[in-house]
Symmetry: C2
Subunit: 224 residues, 2 copies
C-alpha cells in the first residue's frame, strides 16, 4: 500500500458533506452521487465519503435508499441551507378577543398558517391570531378574521397596532398617533371618531401587518 503524505483530518468534514448535499440539491433539484461529493469537496477516496454518509445516517440526518444511484436523501436541512420555500409558516397562537390581552409571542403555537413569501417582507417573529367578536370592527376587522402581527413595543405614527388598554383591560386595533402626552387611537373606519388616552394607559403589543378573511363559511385553514 502506497502512502503519500496524509492530509490532516478535517474535523468538520461531515458537516461539509451535509452542506454540500444541500447546496447540490438547491441547485440541481436532485441529489449528488458519492463521487460527485468526493470531487466537489476534494476528498481522496469514495470510501471516505461513504464512511461519513454512514455516520450521517446513524445520526438520522440523511437516509439512503437501497443501492440506487443518487440514493441520498436529506432528512433535516442544515441551517441556512433549506431550499427557498414559497410558503412561510407562521405560528398561530389562538383567538384574540376584546377583553383579553394577546397571547405571549413565545407561547406554544396551536397550529401554523402558511403565508406566501412575497406577501411578507420578513417572516421572522410574526404570529397569527384569530379575531373573535366584532370589537375591532372599526379597524375593518371582523369576527373570524385572521391577523398577522409583528411584535413591537412601539410603532410609527399612523401604523395599525394591537393596543392593550391598561385601564379598560381591552385589546383593540387602531392607528396610533402620539400627540404630546396623550395618544390618539384612530379607527380605520373613516366616520368613526378617535379615542384619546394618556400615553401611559396603553401598551403597544405589535403591528398588524396583514388581515386575511375567508367569506365562504370555512375559516382560513390552520394546520396543526
Amino acid at each position: 500500500m502506497k502512502r503519500g503524505r496524509r492530509s490532516r483530518i478535517r474535523r468538520d468534514l461531515r458537516q461539509e458533506i451535509l452542506a454540500f448535499i444541500a447546496r447540490w440539491y438547491r441547485q440541481e433539484r436532485t441529489y449528488p452521487t458519492v463521487r460527485e461529493i468526493q470531487k466537489g469537496l476534494k476528498i481522496s477516496s469514495p470510501s471516505v465519503v461513504d464512511y461519513h454518509l454512514r455516520r450521517l445516517e446513524q445520526e438520522d440526518l440523511i437516509t439512503r435508499v437501497g443501492r440506487r444511484s443518487r440514493g441520498i436523501r436529506l432528512r433535516r436541512w442544515p441551517d441556512g441551507l433549506a431550499p427557498e420555500e414559497d410558503l412561510i409558516p407562521i405560528p398561530f397562537l389562538g383567538p384574540i378577543a376584546a377583553g383579553e390581552p394577546i397571547p405571549h409571542p413565545d407561547a406554544e403555537p396551536l397550529g401554523w398558517i402558511r403565508i406566501p413569501r412575497p406577501w411578507l417582507a420578513d417572516g421572522n417573529g410574526l404570529f397569527a391570531l384569530r379575531v373573535q367578536g366584532d370589537s375591532m370592527i372599526d379597524a375593518l376587522v371582523g369576527d373570524g378574521d385572521l391577523i398577522i402581527v409583528k411584535p413591537a413595543p412601539e410603532v410609527e405614527d399612523g401604523e395599525m397596532a394591537v393596543v392593550w388598554l391598561t385601564d379598560r383591560h381591552e385589546t383593540t386595533l387602531k392607528r396610533v398617533y402620539r400627540e404630546g402626552d396623550r395618544v390618539r387611537l384612530q379607527p380605520a373606519h373613516p366616520t368613526m371618531s378617535p379615542l384619546y388616552v394618556p400615553a401611559e394607559a396603553i401598551r403597544i403589543q405589535g403591528k398588524v401587518i396583514q388581515v386575511l378573511r375567508n367569506l365562504n363559511g370555512l375559516p382560513l385553514p390552520v394546520e396543526p
Copy 2:
C-alpha cells in the same frame, strides 16, 4: 439473432414514457433511470427506452444531462401530471371602484396573484380585484384591499356578493337576502342599516370568497 414473437408496436409509448417520468418525479422527487422506465412500463429493452428518449429530446419535451445517472429532465409537464403546486395563480383584473362595474371575468389579466391552495376550495374561474376607495367600507373592505371573487349569477341568501346596482350605476359588496320581490342588501358592519331594492334593480356579479389586506404600506404583490 434470435427472434421470439414480437409484441405489437405501442403507438403512444412515447407519451407513456413521458407520463411515467412525470409520475415518478411526483412520487420520488427525483428522475428515473432508463432501466427503471423500462421495468415500469414492461419494455423489452433499454435501447427502446433510449430510442424514445432521444425522440423526446428532439421534440424538446425533455433534456438529458451528459452521461449522468438519472440525467433526464422534464421541460414541459404532460397534461394533468404537473406536480401539485402549493400556490394557485389567480388572474388580477384591475381596480374596482364604486362607480364602475367590475371587469369582465374573461378580460385580459393585468397580472396574477398566487394564493395558497388550501385557502381555496377550487381555484377555477376565480379572479382578483383591488378595491379603490372607501365605498365598500361597510362590508369591512377598505381602500387597497384585494378581493378574490368567484363569478356567479346568483348567490345563496346571506352570502357576500359583488352587486351592481343598475339604477345607481354602482358596484358594492353586501350580503344578499331575497325578501319577496325585493332584496335586502345587508352591510357586514353590524350597526349599518340595510338597503332595500327591487329584485330587478340589482345584478349579482359574483361571490366574494376572500379578502386580503396588507397594512405595512406595500399592497399585496401582484406578479405580471
